[in-house]
Symmetry: C2
Subunit: 663 residues, 2 copies
Amino acid sequence: MPALMPVPAHMEARTGELLIDPSFSVAITGHKDARLQRAVELFLDHLRRQTGITAVDLRITDSSKAALTISCENASKDIPELGEDESYKLDVSSSGAKLNASTTLGVMRGLQTFLQLVHTGPSGFVVPAVSIDDKPRFAWRGLLVDVGRHYIPIEVLKRNLDGMAAVKLNVFHWHISDYQGFRIESEKFPKLQEMGSDGLFYTQDEVRDFIAYARDRGIRIVPEFDMPGHSTSWFVGYPELASGPGPYQIERTWGVLNPAMDPTKEYTYKFLDGFIGEMAKLFPDRFFHIGGDEVNGKEWDANPKIQEFKRAHGMKDNADLQAYFNKRVEQIVSKHGKTMVGWDEILHPDLPKSAVIQSWRGQESLAQAAKQGLRGLLSSGYYLDLMWPTSRHYAVDPMSDAAANLSPEEQKAVLGGEACMWGEYVVGENIDSRIWPRAAAIAERLWSPQEVRDVNSMYQRMEEISQKLDWLGLTHNSGYVPMLRRIVGNVDPSALKALVDVVEPVKEYNREDLASTPPTSTMPLNRLIDAARPESLPARHFSELVDALVAGNLKPGMEPQLRAVLEKWRENHTDLQPFFEQSFLIKEVDSLSQNLSALGAAGLAALEYLDRGEPAPAAWVSQQLSAIDQIKKPQAQVLLVVAPSVQKLIEASAGQTAALPAK
Amino acid sequence: MPALMPVPAHMEARTGELLIDPSFSVAITGHKDARLQRAVELFLDHLRRQTGITAVDLRITDSSKAALTISCENASKDIPELGEDESYKLDVSSSGAKLNASTTLGVMRGLQTFLQLVHTGPSGFVVPAVSIDDKPRFAWRGLLVDVGRHYIPIEVLKRNLDGMAAVKLNVFHWHISDYQGFRIESEKFPKLQEMGSDGLFYTQDEVRDFIAYARDRGIRIVPEFDMPGHSTSWFVGYPELASGPGPYQIERTWGVLNPAMDPTKEYTYKFLDGFIGEMAKLFPDRFFHIGGDEVNGKEWDANPKIQEFKRAHGMKDNADLQAYFNKRVEQIVSKHGKTMVGWDEILHPDLPKSAVIQSWRGQESLAQAAKQGLRGLLSSGYYLDLMWPTSRHYAVDPMSDAAANLSPEEQKAVLGGEACMWGEYVVGENIDSRIWPRAAAIAERLWSPQEVRDVNSMYQRMEEISQKLDWLGLTHNSGYVPMLRRIVGNVDPSALKALVDVVEPVKEYNREDLASTPPTSTMPLNRLIDAARPESLPARHFSELVDALVAGNLKPGMEPQLRAVLEKWRENHTDLQPFFEQSFLIKEVDSLSQNLSALGAAGLAALEYLDRGEPAPAAWVSQQLSAIDQIKKPQAQVLLVVAPSVQKLIEASAGQTAALPAK
């Protein structure tokens, strides 16, 4: 059975398989409309890519003999809505497949499951016989992409929509403005994009096209205009909005910065009324995100008029002032027909109950909100930019911790969650590799039943799905190769690839902590850390081999594999040597590369001791372990994540754990 | 000095290098216009991709301190024309670069040279100091892409325009209709695309956008509507045009087929007048290609009215009839302001002197045409679909053979040439790998001075340029990996990659000859032959090692390299073994893979004899050589192109040639 991700709510394997050949056809019975038709065309197009069957074949037909019969009861809403029925039933036998759903959205979800089931068998492309009855656990399953800090080209965003659809994510949260950039065309206030974007923004035509593209994939688009903080880029063209004296320039540094809108001026609300009105027309979704996070209050404190306003209105602190701002903004958002969403900080007794709280802080905020009758979304634990291993995101459940104790009624207020791709260190070239495949595991957490939690199964399936995502044009598996080639200077980067495949970027906010000068938005993202994937799956495989050895569970072939990997590492620094003289970009990798070779040599020596069945000398062991302590430290802002596994080998060779039987 | 391709007409290396960092800027002095501005923006965008410098940096500036100063005397023609000045001078020193050109086109060519000069040095991205004075040898340097036989998505064509611009090709010849498909929207005759394309055609909006895209890269677009043969797809919607009784269906097979337009009906010319008039407005280029090749005359012979017409007009054969057709069509083309281009077959004493002959037959046709006062283009020898090695295309010169004897005046009639990508076996997924990098060598033949002919230099430069073309999104180096993954069934395809890297598709039209059933246009192109690149550069490198060994010219490291490659091959079949049970697509490769392992084993054994300095036993040699004779035969329609090199090793081990010194 090929991998499915997310795992369906109910699935039973049957006997047999359905052949997919150029005569494959799809019939649409029951409800029909243009969007359903496009969904099926899109499905056929993906099926053609996956199989290489030419564009002329695979058809929609009226024939009752179609290989796949789709029966859809009703159209989905013209504009996708929160909570629409996404359920479907898929039955595949050797004689044909039936996909039944109440709505177009359900058909879309079922077609993605069908695509995941297609695989290459001994006698052709096939789908195994199966019966699936599926529906999502949460209604809001999102991916936030921050295009404020770095502009991401629209075609990159589009292929990520395809990726989202493949794993049944249904909300694209477009974090479209921040200190460092205002990325959308406003016709009413053109200085926003003209002065706030370095010329890097989306036109309204592009936005409309993007929304239609998302709708055809069953994905809602929720825009976020972060205010009153995270908003310097607005002030470059419209300094009147700000609390400080100005003038303002586009920010080039990261972190929580001082500029904030002036919540005391009527001008601000008039402006926002005009702007939100314009955007509310452009973005059809019911929800409208106003950010609301991380206002440090420094510009407010420094402005006597604002201080006077607070006193006059009896506000005890800046939180009260922001609550006032939020209330005013909520009235505007609501006037334009939208429901307001904001980050944890907007939660305040004055906030209308219709608002939705998105939590970057944790389940506690969701619980608080739910108890106050507000709906919530979890993003804490789902920050892709922190470079966590997939397992760590996968373990985070919106209903765990503080949210676990909510009453059944309160639990309904937890709508789901969103993976967040914050933009400090991503550009079009490497963003896919930060999002995928890890977002697929978060998608599973949000779609599949809560009890689906087997980490090994998740990794196994994720690796398979990750490869299938390549067919959508996503570059998470392939995009680092040209980056490596650039680093070594336009020659074969195999030796650097061997190194980069076992390193990971430093975690959390260590990149800033380790930088000799503060990183900026104009810093080229062309280093090894930018090419390295967040989680090294080769390192994971290596650690499985070591664990098997240490536990005495070696299977045939494993030890030679282990040895081959270690030998490759030992020699790799020699292979990489010629490049250090030639390219400035690779220089910082020198000692990292030496470390990998040292790990290879140490691991091989440990294997020798284990093979001979004689404990390694204590002096050697202690020398090696102290070397590994050094090797575990970041070099060139990446981590050699195979070091702990080699350490295990060395410890085993010292007789500290179970070891190989002597030969 | 990084590789340049095509080699400039004059170049002198200087001392020093210019640093390219985020502060790099470009000033445009002299003539300025929107197209020039876009050309520079495009250049900066490519420079950003190549270096990874972020989108915010690298700018157009007014400063006199710009790193690169562009001085352009005049605008190029709004619509690019044949014979416009494309010359430029580029001077780079450590303090800055100057690019001077008479026209925007010259600036575009010079900017591409600059991009090729950028490389990764020890202290940053740099351009070496150099003085270049460059201009093309031929004015017409084209690439034909046949989208009639297989539709190629417009974004694939666009990235190929970028590739063309990078190597200074300047004509995209769009072979847009053929038996198997009519690929463009006609508003006047909509049944052309509606019934003749399987829904796979370009809208007029797409065409206009594509032409503008090409113009911004200094590329002319010449459309070809092949007539009166190669035209079944027209007849599906408009059978009245045909010489046979109809009805007609889109052809699914290859070769020269019978259907042809009826040259005796006035309806045909009325239709063509309407159609060509519509297309002449859509395509702004001065030249209009009417095909005119490969009319077998069978439909004409079978039609009594046509026979009667020939008799009545005193035509002695079908060539006369086609000449009559061409004359009528030329009048129409000319009436709509265009100059007619056609294949060799249109050459006839009646043809107006303004017409251009494109030769698929050879220089003889060009010489004939030139002597009659007609201009010509060479495509014979430049057919990329024949899977020839680059060296073979590179050796073909438009001015050689029959054309070499033309008078200087007659030689001016030879405008240049076109590489041809015929579409029987290409789809969007693999077409880049058939075009690139080989088309770059043809581009050099057409741009660089005639005496630039060093094959080794060409290969060395081509490999470097090929990697740089990756930055344009071309997939000639990367696209086969997902195809291999599909063949092995969505798992790591390394073992299959090792095999595919040393095979080539069968040459010329052998794919048809070797097929058990005639290939069709709906046959999936998902086999090893479709993934294999036309010329194996790893095989070329291997043969260089063997040649060095056999000639007694081994350098340090060469023999271990040879041995490592042979060992890898010997083991490779074992690595590939698990897949044969799992995927139907790989089955045909079984004996091919065994053959590679046999070559590895035989080569290693030969090396052993050579190392020991003892001649290999005659019986073993003869057994190996006869095995290699078998191995050289196509398997799964691909050739194991390293077999001749292993044969050389075996012959050397027999003492038949110079060998290793005994150790």
